[in-house]
Structure formats: C-alpha cells, structure tokens
Symmetry: C2
Subunit: 141 residues, 2 copies
C-alpha cells in the first residue's frame, strides 16, 4: 500500500481550508512532509479528474476546483489506491495439480475485490468536508 491516497486527502483538505483555495507544490510539500515532486505527481492525477486546476508560471500553483461536500474518500480511493488490497504475490498458480492450487487465485481475486468494494462503499460515505471538519475539531478540543 503506498500513500498517494493519504497525500491526496491531505492536499485537498489543505486547499479546501485555505482562504483562496490555492497553494503551490513547495508549500503543500512542507505541510505533507514530502518532496514537492511527489506532490506534483499526485496533484497531476487529481487535475486530470478535475478536482483541481493548475496555474503555471509566477504566482502559480494548485486551485481547488470541487465542492468539498461532493468529493468522497471513495472517489479518491478508487483513483489512487484501487487494487492495493491484493498483494503482489498470491498463492497457487504453480505446477501442483491439487484442486486448491488450481483454483485459489480466481477465488482469492474475488475475495479481494469484494473486500475492496466493501471498503469503497464505506469511504463513499465520507466527504472531503467531513475531513476538513475533523481537522478543525482536532484543533479545538
């Protein structure tokens, strides 16, 4: 599991809470605590989906382009983390002629994708707005 989903949630939350809804990759990277190039990579994907727009050149950066009550964690999971439940190595698929060995891969694939569906359904009920509220309420305990 890589953390691009996490980074996407972080970036969008940050943009959502900024007064003008804008920041550049350097500023965002400091908050995320990673390298600006990594932020640009993730935000590039979010741009292609229309969640942010970018302004190049001097004074440029990323601008939130979505209603935070409409964007769900499910959307972001599907975009950035889908498929990560299934490990790269899976059992079976060798020379063995045992029934389990011959069919476990199809069965496990269904198990993983079913699990992922349950996960996505759960995340579909959490919006970016919910996250921003959580951040703010953490700030005033």
């Amino acid at each position: 599991m890589n953390s691009e989903f996490n980074i996407a949630v972080h970036c969008l939350t940050l943009l959502s809470l900024k007064k003008d809804h804008m920041a550049n990759s350097d500023e965002i990277a400091k908050s995320v605590c990673t390298h600006p190039a990594r932020v640009r990579k993730v935000l590039g994907l979010l741009r292609k989906q229309g969640y942010v727009t970018t302004k190049e050149g001097v004074g440029g950066g990323y601008l939130l382009n979505a209603d935070s009550s409409k964007v769900t964690l499910g959307d972001l999971y599907r975009l950035l983390a889908r498929g990560s439940l299934q490990p790269s190595w899976c059992s079976g698929g060798g020379e063995s002629t045992c029934v389990v060995s011959e069919h476990i891969q199809e069965v496990m694939e269904r198990i993983y994708s079913g699990g992922e569906l349950a996960l996505e359904r759960h995340y579909d009920n959490i919006t970016l707005l919910d996250v921003t509220r959580d951040i703010q309420s953490e700030n005033q305990p």
Copy 2:
C-alpha cells in the same frame, strides 16, 4: 500488504478438503507455491489460535481443528493482516505549523481503522466453508 492472510486461507481450505484433514508443510508448500518454512510460520500462528493442531515426528503434519462453517475470513484477517491498510509512511508530522499538517495523522488513522472495520465486517460474513465451496464449484464449471 503481505500475503499471509492469503496463505492462511489457502492452507485451511486445503486441510478442509483433504479426506483426513491432514498434510505436512512440504505438501502444503507445493500447493501454495512457496517455501515450506513460510507455511510453517503461518500455520504456527494458526495453531496458537487453535485452528489447527500439529503432529511432530514421522508421519506428522498439520491437522484441521475447526469447523469450517465457523471460521470466517474476518477471523483470519484480524489475525494475519490487521493494520495493513495504513501505509508505513503517512503525511504530516513534520515541522510545519499548518493546521492540516498538525492534525492529519490522527484523522487519517481514524479513516484507516474505520475502513479496516468495514473490511472486517464484510469478511466476517464469509466462512471457510464458503471458500471451499467456491473452490469446488470452480472445478466443475
């Protein structure tokens, strides 16, 4: 995400389908398509939870010690994969004094553990017996 959960499902399914419900780590490893030592490691954990018993010495091996309609994938997930939804690297936690950076980790931890709970609930509804049936029906299409 490592694949011990997958290996556990595979091993228990195999034992469940064997006539005498018994096999040694060499035989199981061939079906799983991995090294016997890895099988022993996973089955050692399952033994501690009582899902299998082991017989050492000549003619020994692992013996299924559970009702396959009672063991769920949720049980196995909790035992072998819990926590794997949250990546080892997470955003925030650096020097930045930005509100998001300061609180994102607690918020993301809740998001990941909530997601995992949804996943576990889903897996709680799938029993080992269901998996063995899936394997068998894959075998007779």
